[in-house]
């Protein structure tokens, strides 16, 4: 169902302490990565309420990324474990609403992993391009 010229809209919630640092490194190193990801800095990946994710999808995002510190490295000790659990449970809801699981991904990027940041963003962009637009407005407005 890939539309011609489709440019995915991806929202990325990234944690202040690790992944935002990773994005910063990617920038300082002049690494190329897909420009259609919108970065939203949050203090911790544990701050990402499932309501943020679903609202993004409802309001036009084709995919959502949550990037946090590696397990064990969380600035707030256990924030990323909570994210891991919430993401696990959210996957069940996505499946039941018939939304492809790959549209919401969780990954770990540390403050030194500029290359990894660029890699996960590119991978996500490729996958969403393959899946095509989500276009939830159309799902809601069908009478």
């Amino acid at each position: 169902m890939t539309e011609k010229g489709f440019e995915p809209k991806i929202a990325a919630f990234i944690c202040n302490w690790c992944s935002y640092g990773g994005a910063d490194i990617a920038g300082s190193k002049r690494l190329q990565y897909s420009p259609n990801v919108k970065l939203i800095r949050v203090m911790c990946s544990g701050r990402v309420d499932p309501q943020f994710i679903m609202e993004a999808l409802r309001d036009g995002a084709d995919g959502v990324m949550i990037l946090g510190c590696h397990p064990g490295d969380c600035h707030y000790i256990e924030g990323n474990y909570r994210t891991m659990k919430r993401h696990g449970m959210l996957k069940l809801l996505l499946k039941q609403l018939n939304i492809e699981e790959d549209r919401v991904i969780l990954d770990w990027v540390s403050a030194s992993e500029g290359e990894k940041f660029a890699k996960v963003v590119d991978k996500m962009n490729a996958r969403i391009t393959e899946l095509g637009p989500l276009n939830w407005d159309k799902v809601v407005s069908r009478t």
């Binding site: 499932p50 309501q51 609202e55 891991m84 696990g88 799902v139 069908r142």
Partner: protein, 326 residues
């Protein structure tokens, strides 16, 4: 005609339990009819839609509408009532959030018609007829049916709603408090839900048994658990109880009958999506930290719609399921 305030009561996509709840006021209903004139109540009294059409705009002080909107007829009548009423009250979970009939948003018109009119084992429908908005009877009489929409809508997605009376069905005290507030002119800010904005856990009779650090290592289903009556916090046993994400004011009737809360009073103020907010709270107290152990806890949870969206799917952020062909 007396100069008492006039009210209307109407039902849409609902079960009739809300009308029952009004009758359940017992002698309290005598105070209500002593104070107001009921001008429209199709379930209980003989009125025609034309009676409403003949009213002046704003002639009714208030209309109480229960049920979500699924048919074009319901949309027409609630829009008419909006025009004729000063205040619109969404009465009960279905008008408030879509309610149990709102679970139909996991299907669409085609799949529902197919199941109900074509596949149903007890059907005798050799021509595979499904409801049409217009058809000819005996080849010459035109018969009309309301259009069946693809989704169920909470009332506030169709018309402007002034107040919400929550519950499946609203408890007599919630209804009486609402009537009292209307008649004494003590209604809160427009758009309010007429029940306390505390969570049910706050008023739960089992509150004291909740451990300081609540954790879950398995999800259990109530009918497979034999200690529901031990008086302890349901969440501790891994039974999904919507208490943390649900408004109080219901009198904890389910809890007192040893059943977990299913969320009919809806979320407290400020929460957009009751199901997601409950999922967020519940997932974060899963005990193990290793990915595969988390996975095995999550495997004991086979469904996320019934436990979290029993009453609120159409008012949730996503509104409905995406059908295969879309």
């Amino acid at each position: 005609m007396s100069d008492k305030p006039k009210i209307g009561i109407y039902w849409c996509s609902s079960c009739g339990g809300c009308e029952e709840a009004i009758i359940d006021l017992n002698e309290g209903i005598l105070d209500v009819v002593a104070a107001v004139d009921i001008m429209f109540w199709p379930v209980a009294m003989d009125f025609k839609y034309d009676d409403v059409r003949k009213m002046k705009d704003g002639e009714l002080l208030a209309s109480f509408i229960n049920g979500g909107v699924r048919l074009s007829e319901q949309e027409d009548i609630v829009k008419l009532l909006r025009q004729k009423s000063q205040l619109i009250f969404a009465f009960g979970s279905c008008a408030h959030m879509g309610g149990i009939p709102g679970l139909a948003n996991m299907n669409d018109r085609e799949s529902i018609f197919k199941r109900v009119y074509i596949e149903m084992e007890s059907n005798d429908n050799p021509d595979n007829t499904v409801p049409q908005t217009e058809s000819l009877v005996n080849g010459k009489y035109k018969a009309e049916l309301p259009e069946f929409y693809n989704s169920v809508y909470p009332l506030d997605q169709i018309i402007e709603v002034d107040y919400y009376i929550p519950g499946c069905a609203p408890q007599p005290q919630t209804i009486l408090d609402a009537f009292t507030a209307i008649l004494e002119g003590k209604l809160p800010e427009k758009g309010s839900v007429l029940a306390p904005s505390k969570s049910l856990c706050d008023t739960c009779p089992r509150k004291e048994t909740k451990p300081d650090k609540l954790t879950i290592d398995i999800f259990r289903r109530p009918h497979l658990y034999d200690k529901l009556d031990d008086g302890k916090c349901f969440l501790e046993a891994g039974i999904i109880c919507m208490g943390p994400a649900t408004r109080s004011g219901c009198g904890e009737r389910c809890i007192n009958a040893n059943m977990p809360c299913r969320g009919c009073y809806g979320p407290p103020d400020g929460v957009k999506d009751q199901g997601l907010s409950m999922m967020s709270a519940l997932a974060s107290i899963i005990k193990p930290d290793e990915e595969k152990d988390i996975q095995s806890v999550l495997e004991s949870l086979p469904d996320s719609i019934i436990p979290f969206y029993m009453y609120g799917l159409p008012s949730s952020i996503m509104f409905r399921k995406k059908m295969e062909k879309e």
